[in-house]
């Protein structure tokens, strides 16, 4: 038993830095998903036919971006955008480089989640705001986003969990993080314990994300 613990303790530094790298990649790409994905979703919804700013052309483009982004498998997206990653980060290896494909996957995902969350709001609620003379901007910021907030928070939780698993994939091609450790130590050097430890950390991470996401969403949900 003590052997096991001391054996694991030898890799403490490695595990801590791997966990931090994973958290960094997830947090950074989640940030981009919020900054770019939520507006993408909002514009997609409001330009739909029968919504507050119908525009068939803009809707077609935005909806297309979301669909294309969501249909490319992450492992392929990661490789395909390497030239773009180099252009932005200067390298295609490391955690910063991994943030680029992770964000590119998370943005359309978050876009669709936001779109669905806003579509759940009853037409009547939007109409009542229109009947009071609200402008489209006021409707977005005072009606759509606040009313969809619990669903958007749950969507962010879902996105962050997907990002944890994607970030492990990014690790396999030199992105760093827990995935990188699992592949290099667990798989290539047959160190089963290390493999198990990364799995335990990833499971815990997902549990914590899901529970805190549910808790926060609940705080904002008054329905």
């Amino acid at each position: 038993m003590f052997d096991l613990i001391s054996e694991l303790a030898r890799y403490n530094d490695l595990m801590i830095s791997g966990t931090l790298e994973t958290l960094y990649m997830v947090a950074m790409s989640l940030l981009f998903a919020i900054i770019l994905g939520i507006p993408l979703g909002v514009f997609t919804t409001i330009t739909r036919e029968d919504h507050i700013l119908p525009n068939r052309f803009v809707n077609f483009i935005l909806d297309g971006i979301i669909n294309i982004g969501r249909s490319i498998p992450f492992i392929i997206l990661m490789v395909a955008v390497i030239p773009f990653t180099r252009m932005i980060v200067g390298t295609s290896i490391g955690t910063n480089a991994a943030v680029v494909p992770l964000s590119l996957a998370a943005i359309p995902f978050m876009g669709r989640v936001t779109d669905n969350a806003i579509l759940e709001i009853q037409d009547g609620v939007i109409e009542s705001a229109q009947s009071m003379g609200a402008s489209p901007t006021q409707i977005v910021f005072k009606v759509l986003l606040p009313e969809a907030l619990p669903a958007i928070i749950l969507g962010l939780t879902l996105t962050s969990i997907s990002l944890v698993s994607y970030s492990a994939m990014a690790g396999a091609v030199g992105g760093g993080g827990l995935g990188d450790i699992a592949i290099r130590y667990g798989y290539q050097r047959f160190q089963l314990l290390i493999m198990l430890e990364t799995i335990v950390i990833l499971v815990l991470m997902v549990q914590i994300l899901q529970h805190s996401g549910n808790w926060i969403a609940n705080k904002f949900d008054h329905r």
Binding site: Q130, S131, P146, H222
Partner: protein, 340 residues
């Protein structure tokens, strides 16, 4: 004053052209509660939603206080809408806001300062009797309470006109009554014009001054509520009235009448002070006919007595006819029922 001229709304669908509203004309005076009643699919919802341009008319004009809403730019329309309150069947409150924040929402849209918003919202919450619920969320309220919030919210920007889109249709009878009383009260206190649509004649009977009956996008009958109740012309209106005032013979009496082959069967409708005069005994005394009361009913429409009586008049044909013309000359509405 609200003046609607040649208003039409057509929908173009794959199944063809649907004419929801057809060249409709309507005038509503200031301070009036005007009811629009019709069966579902008659176009009443489309009509009321055109009064603040939630629905764009295909043709025609909507004048509210001498401004034609259809001529306004989108900015001016938004400003005009702030002076037209609206309440809805499903309340349409914001679930993420408390009662206080829901009521101050239209003031936020109008750019009123926070201090003034809260003061005004609190006044209105008091007015609708929800002072102890100001910090509750809509999900914590009953249907009737939600509609009170809806009403307070609709009044936030001191509108001249309140539109009510089936506001009591999803409420139980008791809440319906209290919401209608509240609407009548705010009309008195704020001198508001109210246009409401409903499919319940009880709503019209309780608070409306005038009513229009609408069918297939057209007004088929309109007038003061008392007149319409006393002298309904169309079958649809009669059907609506019979839902709240039972002036048809109960089946038991129909059976009796058919078996007996009586003299002349008449239905008399009388309104106001006429209910106090002893017409029946006059008939019997002066026209030597026997009047057998088969069925009677006295109701009240906004404080005015309103009655229906079904009489079996027996006697010489001449006497019966004379007695009918006597009743008519007294201003009563007499209808001879040939088929029961």
């Amino acid at each position: 004053m609200i003046k609607i001229e040649n208003l039409s709304k057509h929908y173009y669908t794959e199944q063809g052209n649907i004419e929801a509203i057809n060249e409709l004309n309507l005038e509503v005076s200031d301070g009036e509660i005007f009811g629009i009643i019709g069966p579902s699919g008659a176009g009443k919802s489309t009509l009321i939603r055109m009064l603040n341009l939630l629905e764009d008319p295909t043709a025609g004009s909507i004048m509210v206080n001498d401004v034609n809403l259809t001529d306004l730019s989108s900015l001016n329309l938004r400003q005009a809408r702030q002076k037209i309150g609206m309440i809805f069947q499903h309340f349409n409150l914001l679930s993420s806001r408390t009662v206080l924040k829901n009521v101050s929402f239209p003031l936020e849209i109008a750019g009123v300062s926070k201090k003034k918003r809260i003061k005004k919202a609190k006044e209105l919450i008091d007015l609708v009797g929800l002072a102890d619920r100001a910090d509750h969320y809509p999900a914590q309220l009953s249907g009737g309470q939600k509609q009170r919030v809806g009403i307070a919210r609709a009044l936030a920007n001191d509108p001249d006109l309140l539109l009510s889109d089936e506001a009591t249709s999803s409420l139980d009878p008791e809440s319906t009554k209290s919401i209608l009383d509240l609407l009548a009260k705010i009309r008195e206190e704020l001198n508001l014009t109210i246009i409401l649509i409903t499919h319940e004649m009880g709503v019209i009977k309780d608070i409306c001054d005038r009513v229009a009956v609408i069918e297939e996008g057209r007004i088929i009958e309109q007038g003061s509520v008392l007149d319409i109740f006393a002298r309904p012309k169309t079958a649809l209106t009669k059907k609506f009235i019979s839902a709240v005032i039972d002036y048809n013979l109960p089946p038991r009496i129909v059976k009796y009448v058919k078996a007996k082959r009586p003299g002349e069967l008449v239905r008399i409708t009388f309104v106001g002070e006429k209910t106090h005069k002893p017409y029946i005994s006059d008939l019997v005394k002066h026209y030597s006919v026997d009047a057998n009361i088969l069925y009677g009913n006295i109701d009240e429409i906004q404080g005015v007595p309103f009655g229906t009586l079904i009489l079996d008049l027996e006697g010489d044909l001449e006497n019966v006819e004379q007695s009918i013309s006597y009743l008519q000359s007294e201003g009563l509405n007499v209808e001879v029922l040939n088929d029961v």
